[in-house]
């Protein structure tokens, strides 16, 4: 399947203020795609448009050739799982939270979880290495644990597409790598299609198969990390001078930032 997730002439946003326009791109099945771009370029708005949280002004999103705006909420939740950032956490035991991933599969009169629900939740808690946390409350978890548990809940939805909104922000490098390795593993082993908003360009380059670079509500560039993370493009989109090189081990692009002091010295020479 070449165009698994397809956005065609997509436009969404907020009335009389920020909006996205002319967004067209596709993500093939089993791809690990990243959305990068400066603050306010519309990355999160794009995710909200795909999930249907924001109404589309124009265009369409389709998943596996099915139009998403024609899909019911339940059907959508069975196909797309979202891992968003936690702004506030409720007093819910981790196990109950993960089991909420089974909500799209409940029948009308179902009051309790089925044995299958419990099995699926257990499987993904074990896969994300959070099974030992199951009796803790969400409020007792660290930032990294919350993110892992949130991924476990998303997997419990058994989705075909996983959307992530900056899963590694506010985490130290141990957890950044742990989370992204997990997502990469899921992408490969479960052939799960992933679309991730990520701020850190180095992580984006290291992990993603394809990148979509946004600027001012439009797609500036899409392609593989080598094409997108070129110093020329980054300088234009971010208005920042950078040096790009290759990671000696992975061969993926790496971005170096340069301080103003060093830059002004260079200019004076």
């Amino acid at each position: 399947m070449k165009d698994f997730l397809l956005l065609n002439d997509f436009s969404c946003g907020y009335k009389n203020s920020f909006k996205l326009s002319d967004i067209s791109f596709s993500v093939p099945k089993g791809d690990f795609a990243g959305i990068v771009g400066p603050n306010g370029s519309g990355k999160t708005t794009l995710l909200k448009g795909i999930t249907g949280e924001l109404k589309l002004f124009r265009g369409a999103v389709s998943l596996n050739t099915l139009n998403l705006s024609a899909m019911s909420l339940v059907e959508k939740a069975r196909n797309i799982a979202v891992v968003s950032q936690f702004s506030e956490v409720a007093d819910i035991p981790v196990e109950d939270y993960v089991l909420m991933g089974r909500l799209p599969y409940r029948t009308m009169w179902q009051f309790f979880e089925t044995q299958n629900d419990l099995n699926v939740a257990e499987r993904y808690m074990k896969l994300t290495n959070t099974f030992h946390l199951r009796h803790k409350l969400m409020t007792q978890l660290s930032g990294g644990e919350l993110q892992l548990v949130s991924i476990a809940r998303a997997l419990t939805q058994e989705p075909k597409l996983l959307l992530l909104d900056e899963p590694t922000s506010h985490l130290d490098i141990t957890h950044q790598v742990q989370i992204l390795n997990l997502i990469q593993q899921l992408n490969i082993e479960l052939n799960l299609t992933v679309l991730m908003v990520i701020h850190d360009l180095n992580l984006a380059g290291e992990y993603c198969d394809h990148l979509i670079m946004m600027k001012a509500g439009k797609v500036y560039l899409k392609g593989d990390p080598h094409e997108v993370l070129d110093y020329d493009h980054i300088e234009k989109v971010y208005n920042t001078v950078v040096i790009t090189q290759k990671n000696p081990l992975s061969g993926k692009p790496v971005i170096f930032l340069v301080s103003g002091k060093v830059l002004s010295k260079r200019k004076n020479v």
Binding site: E53, S84, D91, M100, L103
Partner: protein, 335 residues
């Protein structure tokens, strides 16, 4: 997981037993002491003054306490869930303010003198319905609900209603003021059996329908958008639950006056004991509220017998004290 269900079952049985114990105790206590062991005999003979006291006065009262206590507490649990705010109670919505204003109007205009005491609940329910329509229309006008806006509108409607009521009290006779104040303080003394029947049916059906929404309510604990991503129609859920909660509040306030505190603290206590899973919380809060109000009613009837204290006074004092003790002793879940 199974262990959790057993825990729920056990606690439910405990609550049911508490409700029954309180009811039995309530039926035998009062001005005329009736021994527990005599009660089956009195029902068998079904004549005499004791039989009429039991069936005409005490039983209806207990049933009303059961229904009103349960409904107020259930409403509190539902509203704290949809607003995700632990301070919300049935009276925050502005519905009770409308009901109180309706009753005050009936009293001040003297309608109840001409048409009978039945006009009081009718006035209350009319006021409640009008403010319900107002809050609903203002909150849901623009498609998606904004929870905070909805809360603010409710609070504002409350303010306007209570200010209007003060205006009425300022211009009317002291006799009318007395009636209004006594009505507001709440009473379970309701002679009209039709009203009691309506209240019982309404509160039980409210319980039944809201349990149907237990799992969507669980998801709403994460916020509307996250619930939506789990396939829950947050908007529809909030609308329906808001309607159930306001109708129940309206009916309770019209029949029994403004009995405070039940809807605020009972859901809190149940939540801190058993966690915030709505599949249990709704039923648990209902039974807890029933038990609490039956007990408070016993106190209201017996403390200064043969006179009766307004039940709102008892619920406030007992509830407040119990809650403060609980907060200082028991660790509230999550901390």
């Amino acid at each position: 997981m199974k262990r959790k269900y057993y825990k729920w079952g056990g606690f439910l049985i405990l609550l049911l037993m508490l409700v029954m114990l309180a009811a039995i105790f309530s039926i035998s206590s009062g001005e005329l002491k009736i021994k527990l062991f005599d009660i089956p005999g009195i029902f068998r003979t079904n004549t005499g003054i004791e039989y009429s006291i039991l069936t005409k006065i005490r039983l209806p009262r207990i049933l009303l306490a059961f229904a009103v206590g349960g409904a107020l507490s259930l409403t509190g649990a539902i509203l704290q869930g949809i607003y995700r705010n632990p301070l919300v109670e049935p009276y925050t919505l502005g519905i009770s303010g409308g009901a109180a204003l309706g009753v005050a109007l009936v009293i001040v205009l003297g309608v109840y003198l001409e048409r009978g005491a039945f006009m009081l609940p009718v006035g209350g329910f009319t006021g409640a319905s009008l403010s319900l329509i107002l809050v609903y229309l203002l909150s849901f006008r623009r498609g998606n609900v904004n929870i905070n806006r909805m809360l603010l509108i409710g609070v504002m409607v409350s303010f306007v209603a209570s200010a209007s009521m003060m205006f009425l009290m300022a211009v009317t006779t002291s006799e009318n003021i007395h009636s209004i104040i006594f009505w507001i303080m709440g009473s379970l003394d309701e002679p009209n059996t039709t009203l009691i029947r309506i209240t019982i049916i309404a509160s039980l059906s409210g319980l039944l329908i809201s349990i149907f929404f237990a799992r969507p309510l669980n998801a709403l604990r994460l916020g509307e958008n996250k619930a939506r991503n789990l396939g829950i129609n947050s908007n529809k859920t909030i609308r329906i639950l808001f309607l159930i909660a306001s109708l129940l509040t309206g009916i309770c306030v019209s029949v029994a006056g403004v009995i405070g505190f039940v809807g605020l603290i009972i859901p809190h206590i149940i939540r801190s004991l058993m966690g915030s899973d709505y599949r249990f919380l709704l039923l648990g809060s209902f039974l807890g509220g029933s038990f609490f109000l039956i007990v408070c009613d016993i106190l209201a009837r017996t403390i200064i017998a043969p006179n009766e204290l307004p039940i709102g006074v008892i619920t406030g004092i007992v509830g407040g004290v119990v809650f403060i003790i609980m907060l200082s002793k028991v660790k509230v879940a999550g901390n």
